[in-house]
């Protein structure tokens, strides 16, 4: 019997079209647009100005607090302007636009493909290197990784969980990464274990990726303390709290962080970025992005520089099909439709999904028929229909009591609703408002 989380969950069609497509390195674009807000937390502070010459990997925006991170230039060239540009949030954000000249790397970066396995660095130095390299959670939530590696006083991590679940339909970036960069990933995990001071790490992978499970299981023989845990296919298996529940059997209390049950969760992409940052001195300037969709002529997995326009990615995947209804940044469950394809790829862009007219539209909203399916599928044990009503009627105190802040925004409720009600839209709005109220109270 495979492990999984206990309550709720849905089974959307997997549609992993690009699972067999090897990662292709995209050519460096002519201009890159690098927003200074690519992570959860305070926006970074720009330290370059117009006309400055920057090298690949050079810091262009500095961390402005504990929960914040550095941002590096992903190309070498001249800063064209510092302007506000639309990003995937749908609003204009401060960004650094750089004209590419050639690909000249910052000093000290090791760009050779050789695998380095051993290091004498201590935990503190590893964490500092991760902070310097601007690494954030690459699963999509973009939470700064160095914060996760610095547990609050009195708390101690016992186990490191590596998230290779990739439960979002369509996306295959993590799957390809596990297959193609296995050794680097393993070293990255060893580094994370060292930084946390734990001697056990578990990689959770859903059973629909048997090749990745097999490949990594062979590799674990060479690395002490790393185990593979095959998991049942169920969305949202890759949710942080669901993964902890599935692998360790522990439940993260409401409002607490995973460290409260002794677990730290990091994505496989993050582990690879940690390897590159610590062993190769290479900051986070590129990531793997799945560009996919049923109508797309060449769906692929690309390795792209941060700041590349999404338009270029779609072009490389065969161009925008005529029957495009929506372009989504992220996966179909948690991703967000974008208003324009001129937005840049950021640290959190795990995929670009192009939905066609058949599947891309919302159906007309009907009245709630009290079937209770949303309650059944909610992996957090909430009552989505009720939270939606509370948000709609703006009953914030009651919404807070009903634990609206525990919602992980997985979208299972909206996915399953037979009346097509926009449950998650309202719950997100409720979370935003209630979160504001809670912060103002402090």
């Amino acid at each position: 019997m495979l492990k999984t989380f206990k309550i709720g969950g849905v089974h959307p069609a997997e549609n992993k079209i690009t699972a067999t497509k090897a990662v292709v390195k995209l050519p460096i674009p002519k201009t890159v647009t690098i927003p200074v807000t690519q992570h959860i937390g305070a926006p970074s502070k720009v330290i370059v100005k117009r006309g400055d010459v920057v090298k690949t990997g050079q810091i262009i925006a500095q961390s402005s607090g504990f929960v914040s991170t550095n941002i590096h230039s992903s190309v070498s060239g001249k800063v064209l302007k510092i302007d506000t540009v639309y990003d995937s949030s749908g609003y204009k954000k401060e960004s650094v636009v750089i004209n590419t000249e050639q690909d000249e790397w910052d000093e000290g970066v090791d760009t050779s493909p050789d695998l380095i396995k051993h290091t004498d660095l201590d935990a503190k130095t590893i964490t500092n290197k991760i902070l310097d390299a601007g690494i954030v959670g690459l699963g999509g939530a973009t939470f700064p990784t160095h914060v996760k590696l610095s547990p609050p006083p009195g708390m101690k991590a016992e186990v490191l969980l590596i998230n290779g679940v990739e439960c979002e339909p369509y996306l295959t970036a993590d799957h390809r990464l596990m297959l193609e960069r296995g050794d680097e990933l393993m070293v990255g995990i060893m580094l994370l274990m060292k930084a946390l001071g734990v001697n056990r790490a578990v990689i959770g992978i859903e059973r629909n990726k048997p090749d990745a499970i097999e490949h990594l299981t062979t590799l674990t023989k060479n690395y002490e303390g790393i185990e593979i845990c095959p998991l049942k296919v169920k969305y949202p298996q890759g949710g942080e709290k669901q993964l902890i529940k599935a692998i360790t059997g522990r439940e993260v209390p409401s409002g607490a962080l995973p460290i409260a049950v002794g677990a730290v969760v990091n994505n496989v992409g993050t582990a690879l970025a940690v390897y590159e940052a610590v062993m190769k001195n290479k900051p986070l300037i590129e990531r793997i992005v799945t560009v996919t969709g049923k109508s797309l002529s060449k769906p692929s997995n690309f390795l792209v520089r941060i700041g590349t326009p999404v338009k270029d990615l779609i072009e490389a995947a065969g161009g925008l099909p005529d029957d495009t209804a929506k372009v989504i940044s992220g996966g179909p469950m948690m991703g967000k439709a974008v208003a324009t394809i001129d937005i840049p790829v950021t640290k959190g862009t795990s995929g670009i999904l192009i939905l066609n007219e058949n599947e891309g539209h919302r159906k007309p909203v009907l009245n709630c028929i009290r079937c209770g399916r949303c309650v059944e599928v909610c992996p957090m044990g909430l009552e989505p229909y009720f939270l939606m009503t509370l948000s709609e009627k703006k009953v914030w105190d009651k919404a807070e009591k009903e634990q609206i802040m525990d919602c992980i925004e997985c979208g299972s409720c909206s996915f399953t609703c037979p009346a097509n009600r926009p449950l998650l839209d309202y719950i997100r709005y409720g979370k935003l408002t209630v979160g504001g109220i809670i912060r103002s109270r402090k």
Binding site: T84, Y86, G90, Y91, K92, K336, R362, D425, Y426, Y429
Partner: protein, 287 residues
């Protein structure tokens, strides 16, 4: 037969007397003094319970007035100065003379001026659309058109114009309670001083982008050129973040700024038509 009747009467009466005595002492014991002026003030208020004063309703407002025993920063926008005068008489205080205010929509981005660049499919409220992105047009500051303000208005003073996609304020009904100001996630409503015959001159734009960018997304966007600021003799116009703002407390409705605005972002309303000015404006348009 008659004896049981008498016993019944005696029992019931003595029970009644005992209850009366208990009730009398309980009422004395738990008596709460309430200033009778609270009731009087509440009586004087319009009972709209709109929250425009900043309190939870008319009763809460009355309680606050009596408790603080002052009328500073307290104003009922629905009742206006007349009601505040009555309240002041009850309280034996001096009522400040506040100018009546009226809500004005600071966006003129109709479908004609501000073309749509994408289509929104989510939940049809402005609050949720604004949480998701900048809106269906190139202007991230403008009206989203889902009518959260209309839902918020208790006085039937707002409705959506299906042609323009923008809300319209019915001047006669607007009491200036500010519910729409609260409801609009884009902060497009402003309470301006109510002028005779509802006349007003204002910048119908909130776009803070640089001129070229703003103009590209909306034909009637304020480009922050500063012509109006130079033209105004009364220091009523200020430009911050590429956006002009006319202070309604300083504006004397001379309308000079309206003529100089190159993008027609400044709007004059409820004025009689200008004969000479219209000709003058037509000339540069021809050349």
């Amino acid at each position: 037969m008659s004896a049981s009747l008498i016993y019944t009467i005696i029992t019931i009466s003595s029970l009644g007397v005992a209850a009366a005595i208990i009730l009398y002492f309980t009422a004395r014991k738990f008596y709460v003094y309430e200033d009778p002026r609270i009731d009087e003030v509440e009586e004087a208020l319009p009972a709209a319970n709109c929250g425009g004063c900043g309190y939870a309703g008319c009763r809460a407002f009355a309680e606050a007035i009596v408790k603080d025993n002052s009328l500073d920063d307290k104003f009922c926008p629905v009742g206006g100065n007349d009601v505040m005068k009555t309240v002041a008489e009850i309280m034996g205080l001096e009522a400040g003379d506040q100018k009546a205010r009226i809500a004005v929509l600071r966006c003129n981005g109709t479908c004609e001026f501000r073309p749509k660049t994408n289509h929104y499919e989510g939940a049809t409220t402005c609050a949720i659309a604004a949480m998701n992105y900048g809106g269906e047009t190139g202007c991230q500051y403008g009206c989203l058109g889902f009518g959260d303000c209309v839902d918020a208005c208790d006085f039937d003073a707002l409705h959506m114009d299906p042609e323009t996609g923008l809300p319209v304020v019915t001047d006669e009904n607007c009491v200036g309670c500010g519910a729409c100001v609260e409801a609009c996630p884009k902060d497009l409503f402003e309470l301006r001083k109510k002028m005779p015959k509802y006349r007003r001159v204002y910048v119908a734009c909130r776009n803070e982008d640089k001129g070229g960018v703003a103009k590209k997304s909306c034909e009637v966007a304020c480009i922050g050129c500063g012509k109006c600021e130079q033209e105004c003799k009364y220091d009523a116009i200020t430009i911050t973040n590429n956006l002009a703002f006319i202070d309604s407390d300083k504006c004397v409705l001379c309308r000079k700024c309206v003529s100089v605005c190159p993008t027609n972002a400044i709007i004059e309303e409820n004025f009689p038509p200008r004969k000479i000015k219209v000709e003058k404006e037509a000339q540069p348009a021809e050349s």
